[in-house]
């Protein structure tokens, strides 16, 4: 087997699961053990992608997966380079602190490439352009996770907002709703930055409407998250029109659908009207516009008017307008309609809105497999699936990488590799990567940035991780996050002493 020197773009869970599977598949007892090197690049200074900068703070158990990532990172064959933004063309999200690494550099320095850069752009609603009172849910997620892209941006003015309208009924919507409706005294023990808690403590939010264009059977949220909403301490759900909770005759419900229906029928633990805060699931509504305050009728706390078209379901389960409309007075609109990959990533397919792949292998626009180039996770599948599905996909991609690299015989002897290899014929190939590389070499640009302290490695991250937990402990909470300026200062200090 020729050596595998793999560059991975992104250090999210998908990237770590692929790396961990590759490392584990070539253990010290394998003759190929030393023929593997993995360099993981992330544009952020901290690893773990959406596990750090996405997963809701009140779901700390979900983040336990990082222990496996930590274990993988202790293998000297794996190196992490934080703050390195791989760019094909000028970046969409400029991050002042990160070093830019041209894709072409990766091509000439590596034998294999994995695109694992996720789906970082929120999908927008055509009738609801972003403004200071209409923001993507991801901006709020970035705010409460202290994502590097929000450094120095003002927080949402929750002290002035009484009614929030969330467009979209997926789990991210419920994450945001939970953050807005859970008492700060309950949240404060979690991994939520102090400045965020301060804003939440001043919050005037009384009601969150969660609006979806279709019905309860089509809602994307999962039962776990719905149940958490039902059990909120200080909030209750507005009753849902019972006619919407009748299962259409002859409808075959999935297990999840019937359990969702049961939860909705039962309603929230707190009875409506008995709590200081409330929320509602508004089904069969499509936003058609958001009108600014007009001086005559404007209320100070709910100045905006969201117009909604009412829908029904077509035979093929599409939302179709009934012609009826209504309006909703609100203080802020949050759009939560899913995510897509950045169009600037290589082999991006504009129709799919993510990288074009077949069975984990990247395919160019003419249908040729690009030799040695793979994609995994949300970058390859689109923005769907929880960590469990991201993991399963990542393992399959790792097996495919190995199957493509191993001599036939080994491939045949190993079940997983044999099925990953398929029929072994990849069709016509396009080639972009180097054949011969220096196994230990690090690209020039990265070397330079490392020397000036702009790039983090996993050891740096673990030092910061520990320090964040220590600072959190002092405050009686899970951790207190640092931003890059603090982290950099801390690292400089730690390196000197």
């Amino acid at each position: 087997m020729a050596p595998i020197k793999l560059a991975i773009i992104g250090a999210g869970p998908s990237s770590f699961y692929v790396a961990s599977r590759l490392l584990a598949s070539l253990p010290p007892s394998s003759p190929y053990h030393s023929a593997l090197r993995i360099h993981m690049y992330d544009r952020l200074w901290a690893p773990h992608g959406l596990v750090r900068y996405g997963v809701a703070p009140d779901h700390p158990e979900v983040k336990n997966c990082v222990h496996k990532f930590d274990a993988a990172a202790t293998d000297p064959r794996l190196r992490f380079f934080g703050n390195v933004n791989v760019v094909a063309s000028p970046p969409v999200v400029p991050l002042p602190q990160s070093t830019e690494l041209p894709l072409s550099t990766l091509f000439s320095n590596y034998t294999h490439l994995l695109l694992s850069s996720g789906c970082s752009l929120p999908l927008l609603h055509p009738a609801l352009p972003p403004s200071d009172h209409c923001v993507p849910a991801l901006s709020l997620v970035h705010w409460y996770t202290r994502h590097p892209s929000v450094a120095h941006k003002p927080p949402p003015p929750l002290e002035k907002l009484e009614h929030i309208s969330i467009i979209g009924q997926g789990n991210v919507s419920l994450d945001v709703a939970r953050m807005l409706l859970t008492p700060p005294s309950t949240l404060e023990k979690y991994d939520i930055p102090e400045p965020v808690l301060d804003v939440l403590r001043r919050s005037a939010v009384k009601h969150v409407s969660i609006i979806g264009r279709r019905g309860p059977l089509e809602a994307a949220f999962t039962t776990k998250e719905l149940r958490e909403m039902m059990n909120l301490e200080d909030a209750s759900m507005e009753p849902i029109d019972p006619s919407l909770l009748v299962v259409p005759e002859g409808a075959k419900l999935t297990r999840q659908q019937s359990r969702t229906m049961q939860l909705l029928q039962k309603g929230s633990r707190n009875k409506p009207g008995t709590t200081p805060k409330s929320w509602s699931l508004d089904f069969f509504r499509s936003p058609t516009g958001l009108a600014p305050p007009n001086s005559a009728s404007s209320s100070l706390t709910r100045p905006y008017t969201l117009s909604l078209a009412h829908n029904t379901l077509s035979a093929d389960k599409k939302a179709i307008p009934t012609g009826e409309t209504s309006t909703l007075r609100t203080s802020m609109v949050v759009t939560s309609l899913g995510h897509q990959a950045e169009p600037s990533i290589p082999w991006y397919d504009p129709d799919l809105r993510h990288v074009r792949t077949v069975g984990g292998r990247v395919v160019d626009e003419t249908g040729r497999t690009v030799k040695g180039v793979y994609a995994s996770g949300w970058a390859a599948m689109g923005a769907r699936g929880v960590l469990a599905s991201t993991m399963i996909d990542a393992y399959a991609v790792a097996d495919t990488i190995l199957a493509d690299s191993f001599p036939d015989q080994i491939r045949r002897e190993n079940d997983a590799l044999a099925s990953a290899a398929g029929d072994g014929s990849l069709g016509e190939l396009s080639e972009v990567l180097a054949n011969k590389v220096d196994l230990e070499g690090i690209p020039e640009e990265v070397n330079k940035a490392m020397a000036s302290g702009d790039v983090t490695d996993y050891r740096d991250w673990k030092m910061i991780d520990e320090e964040e937990i220590r600072r959190g402990e002092k405050l009686g909470k899970e951790r207190e996050r640092m931003d890059w300026e603090e982290a950099r200062a801390f690292l400089e200090h730690a390196r000197m002493s």
């Binding site: 222990h67 202790t74 997926g170």
Partner: protein
């Protein structure tokens, strides 16, 4: 080294479900095991316990190359921690005295038959015997990666899954009528001879080019 935290300061719901023990190093094989307190803020007490991250043997080899500082830093402290562990690493019973568990792969081929003690859960047993069952959330009922299919006969003997387990099973791949979360299935004497089959996890589930939906 125990890390104690007064649980009196936590709200009632969370005190009830508080998990145990936070930071302790126990030398084992070639590396130091870590106790990870799973942060459960709800559900019944017996389900909330300390989880042991037993990385598979292959990781033991990797971890042994760590500097002590680095090694310690992989330990996570939890705030929801109390003193006594309710659930530790599992110990193998003397051969012939334990409860038998058969592990099978997705094709139904026997991987291994092992023995464990009453109270041990399928995930911990799998880890003890190096069977490839993932436990991404380390037994906190938050990930569904520990999904196993139980043989119907023994499935009927198990206590009904709780709501939170059912919620996670909703999202498990290759769900069957006798699916359970491995981390929630605890051995009892009557379960001797139970079979846990690992579900088939293939990427066929992901049809390339499907339209994006919310996660």
């Amino acid at each position: 080294m125990l890390h104690l935290k007064s649980i009196q300061t936590l709200p009632e719901t969370c005190r009830r479900a508080t998990t145990s023990l936070s930071l302790s190093h126990v030398a084992s094989r070639s590396f130091s095991r870590q106790t990870i307190a799973s942060t459960r803020t709800h559900r019944s007490l017996d389900r909330c316990r300390t989880e042991w991250t037993r990385h598979h043997t292959r990781h033991n080899l990797l971890t042994s190359s760590l500097s002590p500082l680095y090694r310690q830093s992989t330990c996570r402290r939890s705030l929801h921690s109390t003193a006594a562990p309710q659930h530790g690493p599992i110990t193998r019973p003397a051969p012939g005295t334990g409860i038998k568990v058969h592990f099978k792969d997705s094709k139904g081929n026997l991987i291994k038959t092992v023995e464990a003690n009453e109270g041990d859960d399928i995930l911990s047993i799998a880890h003890e015997y190096d069977i490839d069952l993932e436990g991404a959330c380390e037994g906190s009922v938050a990930c569904s990666t520990c999904h196993v299919i139980v043989d119907p006969e023994h499935y009927d003997l198990l206590p009904e899954p709780e709501d939170d387990e059912n919620d996670m099973l909703d999202m498990a791949f290759g769900l069957t009528d006798t699916s359970r979360l491995g981390c929630q299935v605890k051995l009892a004497r009557g379960l001797d001879g139970i079979t846990a089959t690992l579900p088939s996890a293939t990427r066929n589930m992901f049809v390339d080019g499907k339209k994006p939906t919310h996660h």
